[in-house]
């Protein structure tokens, strides 16, 4: 009987203790923020989103060499890179940010944020830190295709133009090689044959490779 009453009183008192806790909390200041009004990037103090937060990827094109190591490092294959060699006859001779000569045009640099898992492996793999995480986390959209972001500075026509220039150069080279070859053959008739033959065949294979690249 005493136990019975004790249990009732114990149950009742623990409920009162719980009510006390919630009552105290009723008057505490709130800890949430009104998100679009108070943005995590501009919030003060320790609530602010840190600068190294891993959100939407950003590619700094002047830094990118087109080495494709980020593409290889990505565990979900969300990065697609296609490069086009900078033709030597191209009038536009861009420099990298650090002043070096650019070897590849980035004819295509796509990141599919629908696939991206924000692991940060691409930023670690990048030798020039051209691909970095930004603190921009608001990129929801109505169409899934909008998540496929093109970072390449060229549009389709420009890419076609660059490829045409490269093809032209390849053609010129091939013609030059052909001319060289003919000249060499001529010379070979006169002189020793073997050395020049190997050289011309080498040139031809490299030219073929370039053409294949462009057709891709």
């Amino acid at each position: 009987m005493i136990n019975y009453l004790k249990n009732i009183i114990k149950g009742f008192s623990t409920i009162l203790v719980g009510m006390k806790v919630t009552f105290i909390n009723l008057f505490r200041p709130n800890v949430t923020v009104q998100y679009p009004n108070v943005h995590p990037l501009v919030r003060a103090g320790s609530d602010k989103m840190p600068d190294n937060a891993r959100n939407k990827l950003n590619v700094i094109i002047p830094k990118c060499t087109g080495c494709k190591s980020c593409e290889k490092a990505c565990p979900v294959n969300c990065i697609t890179i296609e490069t086009t060699k900078v033709a030597s006859i191209d009038t536009e001779k861009p420099l990298m940010e650090d002043g070096k000569k650019r070897v590849f045009w980035l004819s295509q640099f796509d990141i599919d944020f629908a696939k991206c898992c924000f692991c940060g492996l691409c930023t670690i793999a990048c030798p020039t830190s051209a691909i970095v995480h930004s603190t921009d986390f608001e990129y929801s959209c109505y169409d899934r295709n909008e998540l496929l972001v093109h970072f390449s500075p060229f549009n389709k026509e420009q890419v076609a133009e660059k490829k045409r220039i490269l093809a032209e150069e390849v053609k010129q080279k091939a013609e030059k090689a052909l001319a060289d070859k003919q000249a060499a053959e001529k010379a070979a008739q006169e002189q020793n044959i073997t050395d020049s033959k190997i050289k011309s065949s080498d040139d031809q294979t490299s030219a073929n490779q370039n053409i294949q690249n462009n057709s891709n």
Binding site: I15, V17, S46, P50, A53, G120
Partner: protein, 393 residues
């Protein structure tokens, strides 16, 4: 073994001789979309009135081919996948995997990295236990504790975000060290965090843990006897709630855990605060006490963590893993998490096998929940604290 279970669990269990009443059993399909199956677990429950007579868990709704996927990725690329196993305690998942790769590749890790890793794991452990306790409260119908503890969890996630840049899936550890350097206010933040967690847990004991209704809901429910727990290879708070003093951090210290002074909370028979050893309340109580122990480790970590030295220097430029095989285990937040790696010398592992804690712990559910009411089944499931990402992999 089943008889053993019967003999030892005679406490609050409602044993009905089924042949006496030829009542119709109801088959209830709880899940995969159910508010408290903690993910996409489907439980096919056979009910006699409200009493559970049979239960068949159906798994695999979240199966993502983790092990096969790993065979097609290189060692660094696997780390983000490991995060996604038990997504509530991602750092603790990375720990054994990274140790396994280091063991295989023969990489020595500096002491600062080891201490930092242990601290990160403990912060993550606190975050996980806060979620587990509050979600357990939510299963019992109390909604407010969930949001109270989420406030503290935000602190933990905030610290880890500042360290790694991500809030949930960190990809922070890597073979040889950690990905990013420590930020300047790390120690200060951890101190603030410890104080705040201790305060919140005190409040939580008043509000939920020692509430009479909560105690009545959880004590003597889902009894898991010690022998059964061993037979089912349970680990973590589930095993320690049944009185098994087993924690890899103490029994086989890895990383820098031998440098820390902490206790393993175990609810041994005869030493219970409330209820009996092996019930839902005890499992939850182990988690409550573990938060305090983790706070102790963090406090020591603040003093032990050297200021000078880099944590990213040890990372090899090119990871070369010789052929061989290794099994490496660590104390996850839910128990023993192990990774078995087979390497053939290439940059991709030939086989990765995870001993998933939640999967093993979940296996006890059908055998300990029969004879209790349907509402108790939910509590038992909550007290095991599973994450379906790890169960299904």
């Amino acid at each position: 073994m089943e008889n053993n279970l019967e003999n030892t669990t005679n406490n609050n269990k409602i044993n009905i001789e089924y042949s006496q009443f030829d009542s119709e059993r109801m088959r209830l399909n709880a899940g995969p979309q159910h508010p408290s199956t903690h993910g996409v677990l489907r439980l096919e429950v056979e009910l006699d009135g409200e009493i559970v007579t049979d239960i068949i868990p159906h798994l695999g709704y979240l199966h993502r081919c983790f092990e096969k996927h790993c065979e097609n990725s290189n060692y660094n690329q696997i780390v983000p996948f490991v995060d996604r196993l038990d997504y509530v305690s991602a750092i603790n998942n990375e720990f054994p995997y990274v140790m396994a790769v280091e063991k295989l590749a023969g990489i020595e890790v500096s002491e600062k990295v080891q201490i930092l890793r242990a601290m990160c794991a403990e912060i993550n452990r606190i975050a996980n236990h806060l979620l587990a306790i509050s979600a357990f409260g939510l299963d019992s119908g109390a909604f407010t504790p969930l949001l109270f503890l989420f406030r503290e969890r935000e602190f933990a996630l905030g610290i880890l975000e500042k360290l790694s840049g991500a809030r949930l899936l960190y990809n922070y550890f890597c073979p040889g060290g950690v990905r990013y350097e420590i930020y300047s206010d790390f120690k200060k933040d951890v101190k603030v965090f410890i104080d705040s967690v201790r305060l919140a847990m005190k409040e939580m004991e008043d509000l939920l843990i020692f509430n009479d209704i909560f105690i009545k809901r959880t004590e003597k429910i889902g009894l898991l006897p010690k022998e059964v727990a061993i037979n089912f290879a349970c680990s973590g708070p589930v095993a320690r709630g049944s009185g098994i003093n087993f924690d890899i951090r103490k029994s086989a210290p890895y990383s820098s855990y031998d440098k820390f002074d902490f206790d393993i909370p175990v609810v041994e028979p005869g030493k219970e605060v409330v209820g009996v050893s092996g019930d839902c309340w005890s499992r939850n109580w182990v988690r409550v006490k573990e938060i305090e122990e983790s706070c102790k480790i963090l406090e020591q970590g603040i003093t032990l963590l050297p200021d000078e030295g880099s944590v990213t220097d040890g990372i090899p430029k090119k990871l070369k893993v010789p052929a061989g095989e290794v099994y490496c285990k660590a104390e996850n937040t839910k128990g023993e998490l192990g990774f078995y790696l087979v390497s053939n010398g290439s940059d991709k592992p030939e086989r990765v096998r995870a001993r998933a804690t939640s999967f093993v712990n979940l296996a006890i559910l059908p055998s300990i929940s029969k004879g209790y009411m349907f509402a108790d089944l939910i509590m038992i499931l909550g007290s095991i604290d599973i994450v379906l990402g790890e169960v299904d992999r």
